[in-house]
Symmetry: C2
Subunit: 158 residues, 2 copies
């Protein structure tokens, strides 16, 4: 018994929605990742970092700030930035007035590669994700999941 209603929230509904979110993410990323590597020559993790630095402007970001805006740990970021730096897409610079700190800045090459990758990536997301939903559905999903943008569980840097 206990068909579904009665409970303010049918358990199966949450499960189905969660499953949808999970699979949409995984499936799309599984296509987007190799695509990005083929076209841009670097993985999504790099694009995350490059995009953050792009948005941050000319002064770049400190490792600490980068950590706050990404889904990596500090040590993971250190190595990630190492690789991107070795590839010449970012540069570590001294922070005036704090010799402990480092700020990470896009190089000209990094900016170029970011721009190209960003465009390619968005086209792919449109094709593999967006195209599977109607406009009404897109709007519903975007609206329903918007709360997760600003995460109240995680510390948000100001």
């Amino acid at each position: 018994m206990a068909k579904d209603e009665d409970a303010s929230r049918p358990a199966g509904l949450v499960f189905d929605a969660w499953r949808g979110v999970l699979f949409a993410t995984s499936r799309t990323l599984q296509i987007a990742e190799p695509d990005l590597i083929a076209k841009a020559g670097f993985p999504l993790t790099w694009l995350d970092v490059l995009a953050q630095l792009y948005d941050a402007g000319d002064d770049g970001l400190r490792m600490q700030e980068l950590e706050g805006r990404s889904l990596f740990t500090r040590s993971g970021l250190t190595r990630l930035v190492d690789r991107i730096e070795t590839a010449g897409l970012v540069r570590r610079e001294a922070v005036p007035g704090d010799r402990r700190g480092v700020r990470v800045v896009l190089t000209a090459e990094g900016r170029r590669r970011h721009d190209a990758a960003f465009i390619d990536h968005n086209i792919l997301i449109e094709r593999k994700f967006g195209r599977r939903l109607t406009e009404v559905q897109l709007r519903a999903v975007a609206e329903a999941l918007a709360p997760f943008w600003h995460d109240d569980e995680a510390p948000t840097e100001g």
Copy 2:
């Protein structure tokens, strides 16, 4: 569609919807993973496998089938199943009539641990994901993203 409003172009919509899906997944998993490890003693990857085997019934699943139902590669699965087997939660058995094959089956202990973990995990998903959406939103998300469950991505551009 052909709803041409300047304020909400489909491109921006796709981006917002994708961003929502991405963030909902990341934020929720970042909480669910440590929680599961604390309560069940194993990570989400194990639960994925255990849940698939649970659903599959007494005969379990072959590695191949497990691969099709999960988001791992074959070799990744081999090692994942190795670990779970070492922990005693699954068992590899011969497949009658095909000596290449292996079928993976839940042990009694595996079933117990699965049940407990599944309950805990669902409670957490309800709390951290489901509770942020209304029932209408849940329904909309579940419906919109259901196509991703069975992903038969057309090999050519679709």
